[in-house]
Chain length 406, copies 2
Amino acid sequence: MSVGLELPENLLSINGTRLAAISAGIYSNKRDDLVLIELNQDSVTSAVFTQNLFCAAPVQIAKKNISNANPRYLLINSGNANAGTGRQGMISASDTCQALASITSCDSEQVIPFSTGVIGEDLPVDKIKRVLPELVKNLSDNNWLDAAKAIMTTDTIPKAISTEVNISGVTVNITGIAKGSGMIKPNMATMLSFIATDAYINKEIQNEILFNAINKSFNRITVDGDTSTNDACVISSTGKANNELIDRHNNDGCIAFENAITDVCSKLAQSIVRDGEGATKFISILVSEGKNTQECLNVAYKIAGSPLVKTAFTASDPNWGRILAAVGNSDIPDLNIDKVNVYLDDVCIVENGQRSVTYTELQGKEVMSQDEIKLSVKLNRGSSSEEIWTTDLSHEYITINAEYRT
Amino acid sequence: MSVGLELPENLLSINGTRLAAISAGIYSNKRDDLVLIELNQDSVTSAVFTQNLFCAAPVQIAKKNISNANPRYLLINSGNANAGTGRQGMISASDTCQALASITSCDSEQVIPFSTGVIGEDLPVDKIKRVLPELVKNLSDNNWLDAAKAIMTTDTIPKAISTEVNISGVTVNITGIAKGSGMIKPNMATMLSFIATDAYINKEIQNEILFNAINKSFNRITVDGDTSTNDACVISSTGKANNELIDRHNNDGCIAFENAITDVCSKLAQSIVRDGEGATKFISILVSEGKNTQECLNVAYKIAGSPLVKTAFTASDPNWGRILAAVGNSDIPDLNIDKVNVYLDDVCIVENGQRSVTYTELQGKEVMSQDEIKLSVKLNRGSSSEEIWTTDLSHEYITINAEYRT
């Protein structure tokens, strides 16, 4: 099940990157589960990793390698998270980097490992090593869709998007892929995303742009409120577009590029929610007229995290009492519930903390029956607003997670 | 469905209280849904109410009345929460108090109203008023089980318990009832509990004892992390046991009484979890060796609140990776995951942050297949420990909440 998603089309190659995907027999023997992304020598890479303290071995190695060397290869496997695997997990992750480095004649610290899948099982290093030579041989600049497919776990559809942006008269290409559908909540998720662009950019600026973009995209989604041990978002810029350097002195270009990256991240993040485990609805929650960003987010996440609100969405039940109970439960001590308005799309269901006099159950039912719903809450106490994206909670979520060992 | 619960037996009458239950046709015409508890003139009543800012009309009236007068009557209806009903809701709640006061010749502020059920629908005041005379006529000292049944909503079984405690050579009786099974999380829940005792006690001491007892019982449970708009816990002491006054100067008696009340509250709280919506397991989560109470609770609630952990329990799947991911996600910045141990009953599944070398999947599977499971987490960084109680997340929860308008 997924809401409003189609197979990605028209993905742009990124000059300076090559990709390959192969089956190493980790996820299964029937589909690809190992991806290699090659970056040119001069590329600039930034990354953000999970905030879960129980972070997987590849995350620890990846953080170290990225800070020590300029990445040339991203090596990603699905089917095994290499998390909770202790010292052996670290050795395994390093081993795969070493093996790839010796084939490609780079430093092993220039290989960045990523894993997603089952926690607590040893990484099958031999299976990976066995296919590395063929994986390297298969590198090509137009394998983005194959890569998007190979990193999937409980995802039902690959997630990828491309866009172009004009930087001072030069066209810059951006292509991003992502995976994730459960263990999804703010501060990243069981989510991997790899974005490449041929932009020429200063590294510090790129770090800032990635941080800002994630904050408005991957950190604004929740499926089940669980944060994974492995998530990462990486952006690599190859510089091959030969645009004027994006830095602080190139303000227009910098803004245009940041907007484009934010847009790519938002669409990828939304596609993760749309493919959320058991999702039957895609719900945008907009909290406005708050005193500040944090209280808007508190209210939004309290609504998005409420199993009672989520199941009401599944049932297409305009149960505004559950929504208002979630708002009242958002830990904002001085919030005056009697000033709160709630809307489903354009229908005002709650006015001044109680059912709107103009509201009819039929109006609410109509909006709730849609696949895509915008829930707006006006706090009537300030000028901040924040939007997040979430799903409902259906039988299918239980089936997936009570039957699939993730 | 419920885990390890049976119909309450041997409930003790409390000298100085009388009860009655009747069908007013609010929940349905087929069962009782209105309860009256009468308290003698000299009784001492303490209460704690929901912390949800969106609190129902009866909660607002109850708080006011309790602070202004000595309660003589508790009037409780199920089937309608009288929440989100604005000014009309306040008028309705007051109306029912007024009507009862004129029948019983007390002050209307001596009537404390409680409601539980659907949010956002007007309270059917006329239905309530119509049956009040008969309700008063039916008052009797042995109707505790009928009262426990009449306050149920999605509960599948009535919840009640009695105990005796010796206070300086005098036997004091305590009987408590409770309702609740969804919208259950710390800081009370969609939960009502009424406890009566014939103890003779100082009011300030009783307030303290109730606060402490709730903190160790009703505030240590979670079913779905939602907090309701209506919850309340009330204790009334009639003084009829003629024990030596329980106050600060009667230390032994005070401690014995507090222990007895805490025990009653714990058993009622646990019975709410055992009857949790869709519950197939009763799970105690003990977090020990923490630096302080708060971090133990953070870890415990993060585990209890994780849909992935909950569904693993439903599936009897010893998926320790999900448990460890929840621990790593508990917002304790300096927690060292490599020192954390996790046990299912006595089976050590995680040692020093990774799968215990002695652990076999079969051992975990055996514990997970039980109806009652103790999950212990040792943080290995201090001497604090806290225990909470929760349930799994099953298809039945979705069915109840996607089909029942609560």
